[in-house]
């Protein structure tokens, strides 16, 4: 099998969030975020044994929820990651909701797009401070979602 020529760079992605009820108003936060992690989803599985045989009897169950972690650059500008996520997280009620979608290749026509349903903002990082550090302040949030769906950007 020849070596692939279609690998995708890690650093040129599109990342968007939507905080409205229908997840219709997508906000591009690519310019104020720099990392998305927690993208592994697991499926419940279990095993048991019998007196016969030498190996386990295994079965699979449902897919477990995922906790997607977005690392953002701390800014005090409206419509950038920190302020948009803070506003959503501080909304009173049982669970601040948000949708998230990302396109590893950048979101052009034909690129893959991964989209979550409305998830719950389960954590939010306020700006840390450190007199010994020299870089920009980093913050972030964690979104708990049930699944991620794949599509191809067409419009």
């Amino acid at each position: 099998m020849p070596q692939t020529t279609t690998s995708v760079a890690m650093a040129c992605a599109l990342l968007e969030i939507a905080t409205d009820n229908n997840c219709a108003g997508w906000l591009d936060i690519s310019g104020s975020s720099n990392q998305l992690s927690g993208v592994e989803q697991t499926r419940i599985s279990g095993e048991t044994y019998s007196f016969d045989g030498d190996t386990a009897i295994i079965q699979g169950g449902k897919r477990e929820p995922m906790e997607l972690v977005v690392q953002s650059v701390y800014t005090e500008t409206a419509l950038e990651t920190f302020e948009a996520a803070r506003a959503a997280f501080e909304t009173a009620g049982c669970g601040a909701r948000m949708c998230l979608r990302w396109s590893p290749a950048g979101g052009a026509i034909g690129d893959a797009l991964y989209t979550t349903p409305r998830g719950i903002l389960v954590s939010f990082t306020y700006p840390p401070i450190d007199a010994t550090a020299g870089g920009p302040i980093l913050a972030g949030f964690t979104l708990k979602v049930s699944e991620v769906t794949h599509s191809v950007v067409a419009t």
């Binding site: 939507a18 591009d28 949708c99 979101g107 034909g110 989209t115 067409a154 419009t155």
Partner: protein, 119 residues
């Protein structure tokens, strides 16, 4: 031209604004540039239309359409008044049959709104 969707397409800004794999789109739905890219990426594939005579309820009228040079796709792509004139059927019937064809071929009827930021 009609295309079969081979990979779920994101279309429109609303969550759930998808065109599911297995459905059809026409070149009225997407621009030629977008279609070319999606075909190249394997997300769309051009399809040949079924013979009109095999569609449910179309056996009798198929002959007249085919004599006038129409297949399922060219009926959908043509102006209803022109098709009516060339086949001798009423324009209202043509509109109704176009909807039937869209249903048979799972072709979208509404225009897709673009939300791509990097196109």
């Amino acid at each position: 031209m009609i295309y079969r969707v081979l990979a779920r397409l994101s279309a429109g800004s609303r969550l759930g604004g998808y065109i599911e794999a297995g459905s059809m789109v026409s070149d009225n739905d997407l621009t030629p540039r977008v279609i070319a890219i999606l075909v190249d990426r394997g997300a769309l594939s051009p399809v040949a239309p079924p013979p009109l005579g095999v569609l449910p309820g179309w056996k009798l009228r198929a002959k007249r359409f085919e004599e006038a040079g129409y297949d399922a796709i060219s009926i959908l792509e043509s102006d209803s008044a022109t098709v009516a004139q060339e086949t001798g059927y009423a324009e209202r019937s043509i509109e109704k049959w176009k909807n039937e064809l869209r249903g048979f071929m799972k072709v979208r009827e509404t225009q897709i709104t673009s939300n791509c930021k990097n196109c």
